[in-house]
Amino acid sequence: MKEKLTQFEPQARSVARIIVGFLVSLHGFRNVFGVLQSRAGRAGAAPMALDAIGTAGGYIEMVGGILFLLGLLTIPVAAVLCLTTLAAYVAGPLSQPSQLPIRNGGEEAVLYAAVMVYYALMGGGEWSLDRFIGNKKLAPSAAS
């Protein structure tokens, strides 16, 4: 059973990659265009880290998030987004009174940064444009 599950880890990694890319790009849209402002959340929560990096960071999040969602240039994009989310953690939550990510708004940033390192090491997974293009390059005449 475990071997069967591990066999499909690249696919699961792709699904998670799509969601992560989508969520990061939403933060980017919020920073750049000011849309989708947070209306609900935990009472008394500190502002989220990923909203603290301004418009320049917002462009990186937006473009990077969409590329990550598509699985294009996954490894460099993952590296860039990892550094971006770490920068967001430094910019926002570190100046909050609490050191706990759960209190200073940095919890998502920590999770994004941690998972991005894995994608930078392992790639985007099976369902990604990187794989699609790679497959076409390697075997253009193979039926798939």
Partner: protein, 145 residues
């Protein structure tokens, strides 16, 4: 392409699993005894009251890397239930309705079901301990290690 058991990616998978569990137990601790000023809610007659115990236990198991796939599956389901019950009614977009963390955790735990605990986990430790017994010499005796 999967991470082989000793590679850097397999080790980082364990680091990520540990960090994820470490953040998650804090949510459970918030609900059970108001850790970090959270709202206490362990009313076991209600569905949402079960979130605290599930999060604390599941997070600890994730940190240890014990029964990783099962735990991750249960926590993924818990996050899905939490999202649709609590956050989705407040708006469509996860970043608007406050449920971003729930969605993120749900899909990351789903991935953990398939990826397993990684190199530094009790699951891997116990699996490797079992292996030598299976190596039998042709005469049928267990191999001496």
């Amino acid at each position: 392409m999967s991470a082989s058991s000793g590679s850097m990616a397999a080790k980082w998978l364990s680091v990520f699993r540990f960090v994820s569990g470490f953040l998650f137990i804090q949510h459970g601790m918030e609900k059970l005894w108001g850790f970090a000023g959270g709202r206490i809610d362990h009313d076991l007659t209600q569905l949402h009251g079960w979130a605290g115990p599930i999060e604390l236990t599941g997070g600890i198991l994730l940190m240890l890397g014990l029964f990783t796939r099962t735990t991750a599956f249960i926590l993924c389901g818990e996050m899905a239930v939490a999202y649709f019950k609590t956050w989705a009614p407040r708006g469509f977009w996860p970043t608007v309705n406050g449920g971003e963390l729930a969605v993120l955790n749900c899909y990351l735990f789903l991935w953990l079901v398939f990826s397993g605990g990684g190199a530094w986990s009790l699951d891997t430790f116990f699996a490797q301990r079992k292996k030598p017994v299976a190596d039998f010499t042709p005469e049928g005796e267990p191999a001496r290690t």
